[in-house]
Amino acid sequence: MAEYTIKVRRFLPESGEGPFWEEFGVELDPSLSVLDGLLQAKDRDDGSLAVRCSCRAAICGSCGMKINGQSGLGCKTQIGEAQELADKKASALGEAVENVPIVIEPMGNMPVIKDLVTDMESTHWTKIRRVTPWLLPHGEAPEREYIVEPESMIDITQSMACIQCGACVSSCLSMEADPDFIGPAALAKAYRFVGDPRDAETVERLHDLANDPHGIYDCTHCFSCVDACPKDVAPMDQIMRLRRRAGEEGIEDPNSGHDHEIAFVKIIEKKGTLDEAMLVQESYAPGLKGKLKPSKRGLIETIKSLPTIIRALRRRKVGPMKAIPGTHHKLPGDAMNDVRAIYKHAEEHNEEFNLYIKGDEGELAEIEAEEAREDAAEATATPSEETPNG
């Protein structure tokens, strides 16, 4: 048991007053959740404190909120940890680390109805409906099940794991700048269909989401949603997969992100390190391999990039030599062989690093090590069986 102060941003719409802060003292085990703390305050002190909640186990998605400024689920955040974070923040600001309250606010990017209850219908659910969130299958259903690659189902299960809590929407910085951005939750939902081999409208979906100015290219890659998501859906990863699929469909990316990505890969494959002088033209007129034979778009984009290039030169982010294509240094000795080995490994394995399936990095390494040990054990066991006299 420990004592905590939770400081809640309250709003009582019938009071005629604006939002206000209220502190509640609660007493509970540090391993219990912030939601448990709120429910204790509600049970003991003020039953009018409004918070949506149901399962208490991070599966219903009701209790999205901001805790010390961080979007997440109240039920999944241990109150002891929330206190540590609050203390850390206070100390970073040079404040006294004593009786620091845990600050709880309603989710962002949504209107507040009452206390911690937000209007998810007008934002979150409207955006979800925007992505045609139902399967559009090929013709008549088969007599039995659709036969699909087992991996494809595991792959989209990551986005199916979304519980529609809105924490990612709450944390989305792009949506703060552009409220019309379809947003992380709805786009992750879209990937659930784009990645589903049973869906017949994948290409149409990709065009739709790419052509919408508030669509897949509106994401700024800031990772906020990945941090906020309580279910490891990693919405930004799903958005990046949509972009990749769009690129594969030949859909033009106004930011040229897909071509840029390919340019990076190609340049490093050839030179071992990044020849920045080649980036623009490789991105817009790929395949010219450093020869100055610019395409129309490559030329236009190069001219458009001139101010950036000049700024980089003036601030010495690049030396003058680096701005001239074809002068980039080669790797010393046989280091290029190592680079090629990395590319070869990546090509041979050709698998996407999916955290949902593999667990975190340490976990993955451990599983691989375990498998390697098993393989080694088998390898040593087999010959001895085959050659009993050897």
């Binding site: 969130p133 399967l135 490891d232």
Partner: protein, 562 residues
Amino acid sequence: MPSHDVLVIGAGLAGQRAALAAAEQGVSVGIISKVHPVRSHSNAAQGGINAALNPDDTWESHAFDTVKGSDYLGDQDAIEIMAREAPEEILHMEHLGVTFHRNEEGKLGTRAFGGASAARTYYVADITGQAIMHVLYEQLMKYSEDVARYEEWFCTSLAIDENGECCGVVTRNVADGSMQLFKAKSVILACGGNGQVWKPTTNALICTGDGIAMAYRVGAKLMDMEMIQYHPTTLAGKGFLITEGARGEGAHLLNANGERFMEKYAPNKMELASRDVVSRAEQTEINEGRGFPDGTVALDITVVPKKRVHEALREIVLVGRDFAGVDITREPIHIKPGNHYTMGGVKTDVDGRTDIPGLYAAGETACVSVHGGNRLGANSLLDTLIFGKRSGVDAASRAKRIDYSPTSRKVLEDEETMIADILSREKGSGRRVSEIKLELGETMDGKVAVFRDEAGIQEALETVRRLKEEAATAYIDDHGSIFNQDLLGAIELGYMLDNAECTCIGALERKESRGAQYRTDFPERNDEEWLKHIDLELSDDGPQISYSEVTITQWEPEARTY
């Protein structure tokens, strides 16, 4: 006054399936839920859904396992229907978009589950309920012109016309507190179970037995209310669920001495015996001093290959990490039996019809009965879909046959008065609602749980009746209209107390041990006297007891061993 041919109350799997089935019949459908549909508790069903879909498997085998699991209290006609219709329903869900696990050939793959003689559980990692429910909600969004959704509307009472037929429901819009009488030709209750009557429970805070209580209050019969499942693997204290899928994947149960104790209780099926059997085994170990000091035994998942754990038991890796601080891939996790499922409920036939014309029930609210004394793992999702669908179809066909009956506004006025009364209670005039809830939960978990006896149940019943009186004067803090959750909590408390009273009455009445009802004072199953359902009906003196026959088609009761 809003009106719909078919009105569904509750939007979990049973409710959403019922609404879609009714809409397919071309009638106007409304679905009302006190929370947003995807918040419903069907989400929590982790492990999977049973069907004899594999060519080597048979529906008879599935049906027999279910009959045996029910300790022969399940109605075999209903169980046959469920087992026969299961394969088609799974395929239907797959066609709608559920991302079921595939085997290497790309076909639907299965896992093993408790009490089953074949691996016939289809699944989506360990989020099966969530995955199916979100796909059904996709369909509700697709068909939003055919099914009107009333999200965050709370039902306070059913409306009954002069002929004793159900003709609507009184609701409160949670967002603004306005009261509405909805007219309907058929009403389907799909409001889930009553787990919140116990503390702790695996059930969500919303599982307060609303549908069971509303039906009971208008005179519908309840059945087998004593049959409450304790799940073998829940986290101590918090009551969170660890899926049976963990044992399906090979996890062991160990006592504090490190012994795999199921060898003593179910030498053949071991950890995969029926839930009542495993829960009793664990409780016996704990009671006889072979548990851990925190009143638990251990579930050892480390024997399952890590990669498989990450692929198939992802959710419980998170539950272990976030809610118990345990990495289940490295060390055993402490668990104990915990309240989980309401086998009893509103008595219905195989088409969801209750005793009251126009009133239907499906899913955990209903007692068809396919689960009898003990539900098999992965049969609950199946129950919701099969009987949700059947209720929807029958409710629609009734709606096509009849006209709306004239509805009196009196029921609406009564409910408004009831709410005004709660709001008018002065602070300090009685106990707090939250205090009464806590006492109720602890009493029921103490006296009406895995092991029961007459003295204990009687004591619980007396407590429940006292709490009922106290609830009549209990006060709340919130007197507003917008999102007044405090008020809804007070109404839910009333529902919970009705559920608790009926469970106590049923448990006192059944003087034998069958399925989840284990009476230490009557430790044997007694088919001669008690192979029958206990029906309860509201009277001025509380629940009135009567009995009904158990339907037996082809499986005569046998001794039950695993």
